[in-house]
Symmetry: C2
Subunit: 156 residues, 2 copies
């Protein structure tokens, strides 16, 4: 298990860098998220509990909130579904979200980046972020007959 050394070192330093204490739950969350982006709090808890024998749900939320506030993580909240987290990349990338299975993928809004950040009128608002979500169906769900519970209304 020596090749984990580096990966394990990374979160530790990132925590220190933002002045957060280095704890087992935090390291586990950051490490797990590094390889499982866009996970929900519940999924993260499950993943973390596989390597740490016991972590309270509250601890997971605390870790996620603390890291999000410290900008180590980014929280994305697709409408109507639990929040998802990703290890914070400093770039302002956006997301594709499947309406059916909630699968979430990153996209770089190459063309639209600059325009998106400057709405035509800001109505006096002081803006700090432009969040873009592209809604649709993932390849799997697009090729599958719609279930009753998730029909997408097609009526124009």
């Amino acid at each position: 298990m020596n090749d984990q050394g580096l990966a394990q070192q990374e979160p530790r330093e990132r925590l220190r860098a933002v002045g957060l204490r280095v704890t087992a739950p935090r390291i586990a969350v950051l490490e797990w998220l590094a390889t499982n982006p866009h996970a929900t709090a519940e999924e993260i808890a499950a993943g973390v509990r596989e390597r740490l024998d016991s972590v309270s749900t509250q601890a997971i939320y605390d870790v996620l909130n603390a890291c999000t506030r410290a900008r180590l993580l980014r929280r994305i909240e697709p409408a109507g579904h639990p929040a998802r987290f990703e290890t914070r990349t400093s770039d302002n990338h956006h997301h594709l979200v499947c309406r059916m299975c909630h699968r979430t993928e990153d996209v770089d809004c190459v063309v639209g980046l600059a325009p998106c950040l400057e709405p035509s009128s800001s109505a006096g608002f002081v803006l700090d972020e432009a969040e873009v979500v592209f809604w649709g169906l993932c390849p799997v769900c697009a090729g599958r007959p719609q279930t009753e519970s998730h029909h997408i209304e097609e009526s124009a």
Copy 2:
């Protein structure tokens, strides 16, 4: 109260057009939303109850869901806060949301409209909507010292 005739007729026809039954709660919700955009279910319930003496909360949600599915209403769900509804459905405008008071305003993404709808790589997704939310502080909140409960972390 005769000058309400037209305003009252409008929702009625819109409901018929999409095959929804015309009921008092539905008309009241649509009418109220026409003059109070970006309202939450709770606010809508309160507004509607001023003219209809009694409407169940469930009815409000049913109306909102039915109308949203039928595209008479558009639901916007700013991360971490209750859903809001608006009657502007046909144009693909975006929103400014105040992180502090949740005030929500419309913006037409003049420049970015087309680019925003075409992410560089769609990863096989079949997209049907691009949702853009500009986060920041509204004029009122921007000029006010931050409360503890809503501090915006400024640490880079």
